[in-house]
């Protein structure tokens, strides 16, 4: 197992902070006076700056400091939040990302330009762009109160505070800036050299602070770690009039030397209880690098294969004890597989949240008003699926906005709201997740699609096409109906990539469109890619796996029926004709057919095709292994798996076979 690279850890943390900052900024646009969002953005920028400095990203820390300063001023009410400021910080965030990705790159010119814009956005006053190095401590609150109070603080930061970018010395400096401070470190919890984790924090502190600042100023010092730390603040002496202030200026004389224990401002329970709760909360989540999860998945896959071998051996053995053990192992490996699958699942909100920025930028570029809505963000999907769906969804959302949504005036003329609506939704249906991109724009212009398809030779002039076939033409390579090529879409690049990516995920695309009312594109994707339930079949002497999620039903095909239908290859299934493919012929096995062959009817949405096999062996937990690079041109199979006896079975590519079946049907229909 490899040790974590601290720089990589920071980059991961930075990516999360960028998401947090971006989300806060975009939310802020809806309500520019929302103090919670202003605070959230400020906290994100502050943490990014601190972590950046700690991990050696000095340029990032220095640049982020300016944005933080801008938001600090907004936070304090010195300047109002504005759409212009939000746009500036969003652009600045892109620059910060570049500083994280390429810390040694030449970013000075771009940085200066952005800082000038930022300065203008906050009214050209006060500190933005004038400080090069971030200060050690945050500036003290602007308004001091005129009474000195002595506080006794006792605090312990979480053990991972330093590793997460918090600099305890910086916090102590901030306390010193509040007033007269005596700080005592407690090192009693520091273990010996053999036990110490070098990045963990073991020291705790006791601080006696006399300050004229309010209690909230002390809480502000710990604002970024408050939720995870142990903090006790006791007021040792009540506010006393400061020099130059007459006693009569304070209407109520404080009681002498009263000790008041106050919990941290945010906490309702006692500090100890808070600490206990927080510790318990922290223990609920463990961050694990994705590659370790993949390693574990591989091991589980191997276990499933080994278990399959064991079951096969036990099945052919008369040893009852062996059979019992085999059944136990089978049950346990099944449970382990299910648990593993759950571990890999992540909510689609991780995917959807990326589109808020995209839509924000597209709205500015196109002049369109867009309302982006989400549904079913908590739906969980395999993390690999999420990663691979990101690009296709970008293409679909871009196309939806560029081609689908109208400009505000057009929408008003069409009797619609000024703002177009784009809905991203996700829901689970059986073993699949259905992700839908729906807009209320002008819909797909079928005449233009047909004209374009005929002009480019994709269909013959006058050729009869089902509505779905016509709409699916937009996913053909090089197809575009955009009258104008823009930088958003219209180059015909993208939609074919969407289709290929979705099919590579063993998914399908459904498309619906109503002129003047909008379009809806649904991606139906398997929930997981690593292990599937498959139907093991035999064709000739070879075994093959058909993904069970695509199997609709199995029928028997007698030799007589087979001979009778030769040349037509259709079976009648509840009053509809379904084309079928003889896999024996397709795979050129050179073997004679079994007397009673079977037809496995597979479907993807509305399309159905029968696959003729010699024998149905049964269901099979299929650990999917990718085909080697040498086989990347092979289209009939989507992967391979290892069976219990160590032999290899190829996994059929359902989408491809359905396309072949449909083409065969079309040819036969055309031939009359």
């Amino acid at each position: 197992m490899t040790t974590l690279d601290p720089i990589q850890v920071f980059r991961t943390e930075a990516a999360e902070l960028f998401e947090q900052i971006e989300g806060g900024l975009l939310d802020l646009l809806h309500d520019l006076s929302n103090q919670d969002q202003i605070d959230a953005v400020f906290r994100g920028l502050h943490t990014l700056k601190g972590s950046g400095a700690m991990f050696g990203f000095e340029a990032l820390a220095a640049f982020t400091h300016h944005c933080e300063t801008a938001f600090d001023r907004v936070r304090k009410g010195e300047v109002p939040a504005s759409a212009e400021l939000v746009a500036c910080v969003l652009a600045a965030q892109d620059h910060m990302k570049a500083l994280v990705d390429r810390p040694n790159g030449d970013h000075a010119e771009e940085g200066d330009r952005l800082l000038a814009e930022l300065q203008a956005a906050v009214g050209g006053q006060g500190g933005i762009g004038t400080v090069v190095t971030p200060p050690l401590a945050a500036s003290a609150p602007a308004k001091a109160e005129n009474a000195a109070t002595t506080w006794k603080l006792s605090f312990r930061l979480p053990s991972n505070a330093m590793a997460n970018g918090t600099n305890p010395l910086g916090l102590l400096d901030e306390l010193r800036e509040l007033g007269t401070c005596e700080i005592k470190a407690d090192v009693s919890k520091v273990p010996g050299l053999n036990q110490i984790e070098p990045a963990d924090l073991y020291v705790s502190w006791q601080v006696t602070l006399t300050t004229e600042q309010p209690r909230s100023a002390i809480d502000d010092v710990f604002i970024f770690v408050m939720d995870e730390m142990e903090l006790q603040i006791e007021q040792q002496s009540s506010p006393t009039p400061a020099a130059g202030i007459k006693a009569t200026d304070t209407p109520t004389a404080p009681a002498a030397e009263k000790t008041v224990t106050e919990p941290p401002a945010k906490a309702e329970a006692s500090p100890a209880a808070v600490a206990e709760t927080k510790n318990g909360k922290a223990a609920e989540n463990v961050r694990v690098p994705a590659e370790r999860l993949d390693e574990l998945m591989d091991r589980v896959g191997e276990l499933v294969i080994a278990q399959s071998r064991l079951s096969q051996l036990a099945g052919s053995s008369v040893d009852i004890q062996l059979r019992a053990v085999s059944e136990d192992v089978e049950r346990l490996s099944g449970e382990l597989r299910d648990t593993m699958m759950v571990l890999r699942m992540v909510p689609v909100t991780q995917l959807f949240s990326r589109f808020r920025r995209l839509v924000h930028d597209l709205a500015r570029e196109t002049g369109k008003m867009i309302e982006l809505e989400f549904e079913g963000e908590t739906t969980e999907v395999d993390k690999t699926v999420i990663e691979r769906l990101a690009d296709p969804l970008v293409h679909l959302v871009r196309n939806s906005i560029d081609h689908g949504l109208e400009l505000p005036d057009e929408r008003i003329a069409a009797g619609k709201d000024r703002a177009g609506r784009v809905l991203l939704s996700a829901r689970q249906a059986g073993g699949e997740v259905i992700i839908t991109i729906k807009d209320d724009g002008r819909g797909i212009n079928r005449e233009r699609v047909r004209a374009k398809a005929e002009a480019s030779g994709l269909v013959q002039p006058g050729q009869q096409l089902m509505d779905q076939e016509l709409l699916q033409l937009i996913f053909q390579p090089g197809f575009s109906t955009a009258a104008q090529v823009t930088n958003l879409s219209g180059r015909g690049v993208g939609m074919d990539v969407v289709k290929k990516t979705v099919e590579a995920l063993r998914g399908v695309i459904d498309i619906r469109s109503e002129p003047g009312r909008g379009s809806e594109i649904s991606l139906r994707i398997p929930l997981t890619l690593a292990i599937i339930d498959g139907l093991l079949v035999r064709v000739g002497s070879g075994n093959y796996v058909i993904p069970l999620s695509a199997v609709e039903e199995c029928l028997e095909l007698s030799l007589e029926e087979d001979l009778r239908s030769r040349g037509r290859s259709f079976i009648s299934l509840r009053d509809s004709l379904v084309p079928y493919l003889r896999l024996r012929d397709l795979f050129r096995t050179g073997t004679a057919p079994d007397r009673y062959q079977k037809v496995v009817v597979i479907s993807t949405g509305d399309e159905r095709v029968g696959l003729v096999v010699d024998q149905i062996i049964g269901d099979h937990q299929t650990v999917i292994k990718s085909m080697s690079k040498l086989h990347h041109d092979v289209v009939t199979f989507s992967g391979a798996t290892i069976l219990g006896d160590g032999s290899v079975a190829l996994i059929l590519d359902v989408m491809h076979l359905i396309n072949v079946g449909q083409q065969q049907e079309a040819q036969l229909r055309a031939a009359g």
């Binding site: 700080i183 005592k184 090192v187 273990p191 053999n194 110490i196 070098p198 990045a199 073991y202 601080v207």
Partner: protein, 110 residues
């Protein structure tokens, strides 16, 4: 623990970076020093980049030395960045005589 000032002047010279970024490497260096030399004397560069992680490692080394009956100390009393980090971290305010002797090489006046 031996009086650091009586130990011959050959120390383990520490690198310039004594911050959390380098903490694991410094811990390994200290381990190696305990395995190869006795007494272990740390030579901390005056302008080293020091943060709390290094102070913790030194405290951990002190415990290690005490448990194993080894001699451990600083070759020179804390000055420069080491001293300012000790001050910032609150190590100076309430020093025991032993701490004062260890970090600052000052013996308690009787």
């Amino acid at each position: 623990m031996s009086d650091p000032q009586t130990i011959p002047a050959h120390g383990t010279v520490l690198p310039q970076s004594l911050s959390i970024r380098n903490a694991a490497a410094v811990r390994d260096l200290l381990h190696a020093a305990f395995e190869s030399t006795d007494p272990v004397l740390l030579n901390v560069p005056d302008d080293a980049d020091i943060d709390l992680s290094f102070l913790q490692l030194v405290e951990a080394s002190r415990r290690h030395a005490e448990l194993n009956g080894r001699s451990f100390g600083l070759q020179n009393p804390a000055t420069g960045n080491l001293l300012s980090t000790l001050e910032r971290a609150g190590f100076i305010a309430d020093m025991t005589p032993r701490d004062r002797e260890f970090w600052l090489h000052r013996k308690e006046q009787q």
